[in-house]
């Protein structure tokens, strides 16, 4: 658990995807935050989204494989 316990001592820095007021609240508290103007991927086209998901799954498998070497 050392990795997670080490994190407990660190400053939280946030990427916010979705509701903008969550980022505004964090900013007001002096927390470093990057709000994203998120929108559904592939222009909302479900077929392209499904293809993208397959590519991403493949990419993460490749990445995991490289990490193991």
């Amino acid at each position: 658990m050392s990795k997670l316990v080490n994190f407990f001592g660190q400053k939280v820095k946030v990427i916010n995807l979705g509701i903008p007021s969550f980022a505004e609240d964090l900013r007001k508290q002096g927390v470093e935050v990057m709000h994203t103007e998120w929108r559904p991927p592939a222009g909302g086209n479900k077929k392209i989204q499904a293809l993208l998901a397959k590519v991403e799954a493949w990419q993460s498998k490749v990445k995991a494989g490289k990490g193991a070497r």
Binding site: K13, V14, L17, R27, T36, W38, G43, G44, E56
Partner: protein, 508 residues
Amino acid sequence: MVVCHLIRKQTYFDSVTLMLIGSQVKKLDGIENAVVGMCTDYNIDSLKRLNMYQPEFDGLTPNDLIICIMGKDKATAENGIAEVEKRLKSRKQASGASAELPPATQEEAARRLPEANVVLISVPGEYAAREAMQALNNGRHVMLFSDNVSIEEELELKTLGVSKELLVMGPDCGTAIINGTPLAFANAVRSGDIGLVAASGTGLQEVTSTIHRLGCGISQAIGVGGRDLSEKIGGRMTIMATRALAADPATRVIVMISKPPAEKVLTPLFAEFKNIGKPVVVYFIGADPKMIEAQGFVAARNLEDAALQACRLSNKKQYNPEMTDSEIKKLADKVKLPAASLRGLYSGGTLCDEAQRLLQPAIGEIFSNTPVKGCKEMPDVYKSSGHCIIDLGDDNFTRGKAHPMIDPDYRAERVVQEFADPNVGVICFDVVLGYGSHPDMAGEMVGAIERGRKKSGRNPVLAACICGTEEDPQGWQQQKARLAEAGVSVFPTNVAMVKFVQHCLERK
């Protein structure tokens, strides 16, 4: 009635912003209905149901914005559209505080803030797991506020999270305080040595706020999502978070809040707690405390008690509730109910649940839209009869509308409705403060109370509990003063308010 509409192609806003604006514009004179939303299947269904669907909406995508207003005439409806546009423009200006254009994807955001260690996700559920997976693969902790994430996706995310020692808080996790930072709906509390793991949003808010008001503090408050202790998820995140708090030198006492875990999860969880070597306070909502005590842990009787026990263990001295039973009884002795029925109008689900559990043995038949054991299902959630304790944050009331902790409109309407019922003797409600919540919920409730009194000429007894701290953006004392001026009896915890209600009903 005339329906006017405006389509903004490839213009995306989050659903909470759009629902709030739609709800505000609907209140304008002459406007019968307003649908402001992205072109999702749900919004299309709503438009069809309301007879507001237009042929021009065919072929639009979830990235296209629809503003559709039904008004008494064309000018009123068009004015409604202009109002929506004005409000959207000011929202955009408020969120785009920096001169630089905001990033459009998580990848781009990570390039601009590479040291980011948490990704807070509140995008529609169907896209949330994908974003969470990306965050975990890049070594970042996840707070998943989004709901409608499947349990299979949750299992996949949490399995990956555990393998990388990364938190997956959620899905449907509304509250967390990590390294002193309140995330989403959370309160401003002092740092301290009490660490919490919870599968309940308002439960976590109530306990952390009470701990703060009692003078103690929080090391971490980790939300795990309501399904973490289900058989399928197996308590993966609860176990990882508990192990980390056990190893964390800043944490001396651990508090666990959840509905009772699945049978198969209970044994490994208790085995885990036994290895901690720090005092553990357990509140399994609705479970028999003796079952917890038999295992050697401290069993809390309710949310307030969980806070009291945690403070006692943290400072090795006795802590008493902020309001004693005799103070509560004295207050109740001063009032006289004009009729016999109770109406509880809650925005916090766990608080609603707690009120039912505490009151049912004392006052008998209670109806709810989310009945606990011993209470009954409301035949019609929109019309109360007898004693009713209602969770207005439940799905019935939030389809197409923002949560009542953000949008007070339906609860305000319901207050007026309950005032008009000659059988109502007492109305009680919660006011949840903190980041994310409405900036002046007390003010909104007072407005509704005044309208209710004026319209009905009645004066039922009113009671409120305020979940929060003085350091919250709304200020505990300021909210209390606002309610007290309007004749509402105000309590620091839900438990104290419920005791007051019980006394009132017993001596009616």
